[in-house]
């Protein structure tokens, strides 16, 4: 389904890309503005980066957010992998419809609902079993895992469907037990999907404001919570500097992940051709 691209389509594509990137590029340019007033240009300077690097509050928030993102990504990848395997490779099992529904719903559920729901859960749990005794790192991480695992599961499902069962069938024909097939064939071939799922979960966690705001407790300020509290009052040059660092960091991560996935897809197509005997 490719070939000619009409002038109208090329025009729309250019408008779309300009719409996507101009705001971000301007945001980054203004981070190098000497002036305290963001939109008033006062010459090039890196002073806001210096302000940023000296702020203990910012460093504390960065550390907390990275810690949450790391634990979240690791647990969500493990759980999402299991969920994806169950959905694609296990055929029918009792509760599959409910399970599939719970895996998809977090993708679209408005954050205010998820956030409120998790908060009341944590409060009820505390009353019932005395845990979690305080809200902060643990509660935010659990909340993030709950929605991140859905994204990982989608990635894993797509990969499992994409790679087909040919290799697994071959291994089984050669006498490998199902558990052996899983560990020797399926999991290694899942690695790129797991890696990109991990990265996705990591960035989703770094990005979340609303759910974290609901389930956090006193003293636990994540990076988005800090940014939000500052930009609610208006534009701030130090936030432009922080934004520039975050955007560049994410751009590098995504590009690496995309290259990994793209390579894998090409390999799949080659394997398929090979299997078909062409």
């Amino acid at each position: 389904m490719h070939g000619k691209r009409s002038q109208f389509l090329t025009f729309m594509l250019s408008v779309g890309l300009a719409f996507f990137y101009i705001p971000l590029i301007l945001l980054m340019i203004y981070s190098f503005n000497e002036s305290k007033l963001v939109p008033v240009w006062g010459g090039w300077s890196v002073r806001w980066y210096e302000v940023l690097l000296q702020s203990e509050e910012v460093w504390g928030a960065v550390a907390l957010s990275l810690k949450i993102a790391f634990v979240n990504a690791s647990v969500a990848t493990a759980l999402g992998m299991l969920a994806g395997l169950a959905m694609v490779r296990f055929g029918k099992f009792r509760g599959r419809t409910l399970f599939g529904g719970m895996l998809v719903a977090p993708l679209v559920m408005p954050e205010v609902i998820t956030g409120l729901a998790l908060l009341v859960l944590f409060i009820s749990l505390k009353e019932l079993v005395g845990w979690p005794d305080q809200r902060g790192f643990t509660t935010i991480t659990i909340a993030h895992i709950t929605f991140s695992l859905a994204y990982v599961a989608v990635t894993v499902q797509a990969r499992l469907t994409g790679m087909g069962t040919t290799m697994e069938e071959a291994a089984a024909d050669l006498g490998a037990k199902p558990f052996k097939v899983l560990t020797a064939i399926t999991l290694p071939r899942l690695t790129p999907a797991l890696l990109s799922g991990w990265l996705l979960a990591f960035t989703l966690s770094l990005d979340d404001l609303v759910i974290a705001s609901f389930v956090t407790g006193p003293g636990a300020t994540t990076l988005p919570i800090l940014i939000f509290s500052r930009i609610r009052v208006g534009l701030r040059p130090d936030i432009n500097a922080l934004a520039t660092i975050m955007i560049l960091f994410i751009a590098i991560c995504v590009t690496i992940a995309a290259i990994l996935l793209f390579r894998q897809q090409r390999q799949d197509k080659l394997n398929q051709k090979f299997a078909e005997g062409n």
Binding site: P39, F93, L116, E168, F228
Partner: protein
Amino acid sequence: MGAIKLDAVDVMTEIPILKYNQNGSSIIQSLMQRIQRHWRAIVIAIPFLWLLLFFLAPFFIVAKISLAELAIASPPFTRMIEWTEGGILTVRIVFDNFRYILSDSLYFDTYVNSLKISVTSTFLCLLLGYPIAYAIVRSGPVARPILLLLIILPFWTSFLLRVYAWMGLLADQGTINNLLIAIGVIDEPIHMLYTEFAVYIGIVYTYMPFMILPLYANMEKLDGSLNEAAADLGSRPTNTFFKVTLPLTTPGIIAGSLLVFIPATGEYVIPDLLGGGNVQMIGRVLFNEFSRNSDWPVAAAVAIVLLVILVVPIIIFQHFQGKAAEAP
């Protein structure tokens, strides 16, 4: 978790009965044996239980709180089931919160306004996103992955920062006004930030990748020979588009539209940062009811009503996702 039954469907479905050397079987060995025998049930059970506890159960608690009354206590609501003096079990269910929400025109108008904004934004995303997705599909094999990456990048970039970028553009002293004044188009800045217009821009900007990506995935699978066949039979390109391409991309349109519509209806950050106090959306009301007024029962009732409004779109979305996951 022996309750989960596994039906044999694919090659991996057979549960192995491993013959282990029983002599000197340690605890670890028997544990390993158990894991190997029941690994399939374990694989399902771990994420299943996680989602039951942290995703499904909370909604029942929200529903329970929505039927309670505000109380000066911690947590700030009355108990549904209580042992009163003399060992009598009392069950209190109050529908006041729902009556309050449904009778107060403020809430009603806010729900209507949220739906109006999310439906319009979804339509705008479709109108802009469709040609973009189509343009990427029609691009050459070298340009395609690059263009796709360019669309995915903003989707991964912090949502909050993308909204913030528009604050800088739309402010009275912002980039757009400065530019227009500098080139002499206007004398006075146009008031754009903290208006409904800004909220539309924010939603279309941040949710657009959610529209483009499913559309792209759908269009990528289309068979180009259908278009050629239509052309051979004398159909003009516009006609072919409306009679062949558009109907075939309906699944992508539905998936993309729901991915925008459902979360946008409950949006909190965009109306708060770009709409200021001037644009009422239900996500913002819910957040404020909970955080500023600490009225949890009303916040819970607002959430339940929102969920009831969105439950049909969510089910349709699940249906489409399920189909997409099973398609080879």
